[in-house]
């Protein structure tokens, strides 16, 4: 077993990205994720990777497009307003079916907002975000350990399906320190097989073209329909979640990321008082783990959705439960972070006085 190291969440992402064999980073500074480019500039230099501090987020995402089209693992990180600026590029990358990793350490919005933790970019992350019919695989870690582990998973899923992947964290996860067990198993970038679409130089072979447009009549429709088939496959194969204490539950809290941590503490408070409360934590936000909700909604009467937003994931919970269960909500927008006792009070409101 590897030694446990106390690490900032943002630093755990950097080590996770490097362990995943990624050697290309382009990005532009923004709080609360600045520790990512800061450490990345040092680490990429140490291991012979590429670090570019670009002139803007628009430049960063397009450099990523180029590096990934050449067949290399490439990533960028930013926070909410910066991710908005990247949406055009993400849409192009999705349209060209290119795997990249984008990390969003979410902060309060809309607009310039503030630099406090938030989850208000859920819609943007899970509905595509830019123009056109597309989705990005979206992973939601809730600890420094997962911030270390998920980059590798994200690259593997992105490459398997030729699709951009997103890690949706928040300011608290990025700024918090926790022990991380670093894996000794490092991906050697040179050991990765060349993708059959990669623009690696066509000397001695047919040329390849990577693009997101086709002006021939009917062609783009064909592409889009093919991409829908891919999305259906992802939805079928890649739903991930963590369910704890849900079997006997009268109420199941639904929360991801930081809110899942807070809700876990609230669940313990409630269990101590005799309430039968469980926690269902979506790990993939897209594809949303609809199957487990469809199943649970047959026996769980109440779901309590907890988000650091005005309520965005709640829509997916309603769709997945098909209105069979009662859906309650507790949200803290604009950089507010709920406390366990606050969430506990909501549980009490639903289930009545102490059991």
């Amino acid at each position: 077993m590897a030694e446990k190291k106390l690490m900032y969440g943002n630093h755990a992402i950097v080590e996770g990205v490097i362990a995943a064999g990624c050697r290309f980073f382009a990005g532009y500074p923004i709080t609360p994720q600045n520790e990512i480019p800061e450490l990345m500039s040092i680490r990429m230099n140490e291991i012979g990777g590429v670090f570019v501090q670009t002139g803007s987020e628009v430049a960063a995402i397009n450099m990523l497009f180029g590096a990934a089209a050449a067949g290399k693992r490439a990533m960028t990180s930013s926070s909410s307003p910066g991710i908005s600026l990247m949406q055009e590029g993400i849409s192009y990358i999705a349209g060209a079916d290119i795997p990249v990793l984008v990390v969003n350490v979410v902060r309060g919005g809309p607009g310039l907002g503030n630099i406090a933790p938030a989850q208000s970019d859920y819609y943007q992350a899970t509905r595509g975000g830019g123009h056109g019919d597309y989705f990005t695989i979206t992973l939601a870690p809730n600890s420094a350990q997962e911030l270390f582990e998920f980059p590798r998973l994200a690259f593997e899923l992105a490459e398997k399906y030729r699709n951009p992947a997103l890690i949706l964290a928040d300011g608290l996860l990025g700024q918090m320190m926790e022990p991380v067990e670093l894996s000794d198993e490092l991906v050697d970038p040179n050991s990765l097989a060349e993708n059959e679409w990669a623009l690696s130089g066509c000397k001695g072979r047919e040329r390849r073209i990577v693009r997101s447009y086709d002006l021939r009549p009917g062609k783009l429709e064909e592409w889009n329909l093919r991409r829908i088939e891919k999305y259906e496959k992802i939805k079928k194969n890649e739903q991930r979640f963590e369910a704890t204490d849900c079997d006997d539950a009268d109420l199941v809290i639904v929360a991801y990321g930081t809110c899942a941590r807070v809700s876990d503490a609230a669940k313990k408070l409630a269990r101590d008082k005799g309430f039968k409360v469980g926690l269902l934590r979506p790990i993939t936000l897209w594809p949303f783990p609809t199957d487990v909700f469809a199943d649970m909604s047959k026996r769980i009467e109440n779901f309590l959705v907890v988000e650091m937003s005005c309520g965005q994931m709640i829509d997916d919970v309603k769709l997945a439960t098909e209105h069979r269960s009662k859906i309650h909500f507790h949200g803290r927008p604009g950089g507010g972070v709920p406390t366990p006792s606050e969430v506990y009070k909501e549980i009490e409101k639903v289930l009545g006085g102490a059991q």
């Binding site: 106390l6 630099i115 700024q175 918090m176 366990p340 006792s341």
Partner: protein, 177 residues
């Protein structure tokens, strides 16, 4: 066992370092730990605080609203955090820099002349170490030896003299009670 701790003071008083040392110490003693600093539009001389959770179980929420233990380094932090301490909790405060007296009667309050003691050792900036030493003795939560090891993990680039001085400040605080 789960203990929630807040350390608060002026920027420059070693508040964040204290928190990280506590988290490292917990990790060394094989406990589950989290550390979360206040971050934001802070300015030099403004207030800084951080939350640390040390537990025998995985830590659910890293956010501390009602701490078991607070280490208070300056006046504004006393005003802000005294009311939040759990009943029967512990409040340590830096008497050298704080003129007002805590008013709570349902918690244990320990005044420490941290800056004067630190200056006696030759450096006012190690007042935070004195406070950590007092806390270790009073609570038994973390061992003195572990804190000495933990500060070496925090101050990787510090010279030997500084590390030894930090040890002395920890010991001095530990010996106060």
């Amino acid at each position: 066992m789960t203990k929630e701790i807040i350390v608060s003071g002026f920027g420059g008083q070693g508040v964040v370092s204290s928190g990280i040392i506590l988290a490292y110490a917990g990790l060394i003693e094989d406990k589950h730990v989290t550390f979360f600093p206040s971050y934001g539009a802070e300015m030099r001389g403004g207030t800084a605080n951080c939350s640390i959770v040390v537990s025998n179980e995985p830590v659910a929420s890293p956010i501390v609203s009602n701490p078991d233990i607070v280490i208070i380094m300056n006046e504004p932090s006393l005003t802000r955090f005294e009311p939040t301490v759990k009943p029967n909790g512990l409040l340590l405060y830096n008497k050298t820099l704080i003129k007002s007296k805590p008013a709570r009667t349902d918690i244990t309050i320990i005044p420490v002349d941290a800056n004067i003691i630190a200056e006696g050792l030759g450096q006012s900036r190690i007042a935070n170490m004195v406070m950590l030493g007092v806390m270790a003795k009073k609570t038994g939560l973390l061992k003195l030896e572990t804190l000495k090891e933990a500060q070496r993990k925090r101050f990787i680039k510090a010279n030997k003299e500084q590390l030894t001085l930090n040890d002395k400040a920890l010991e001095k605080g530990y010996g106060l009670l």
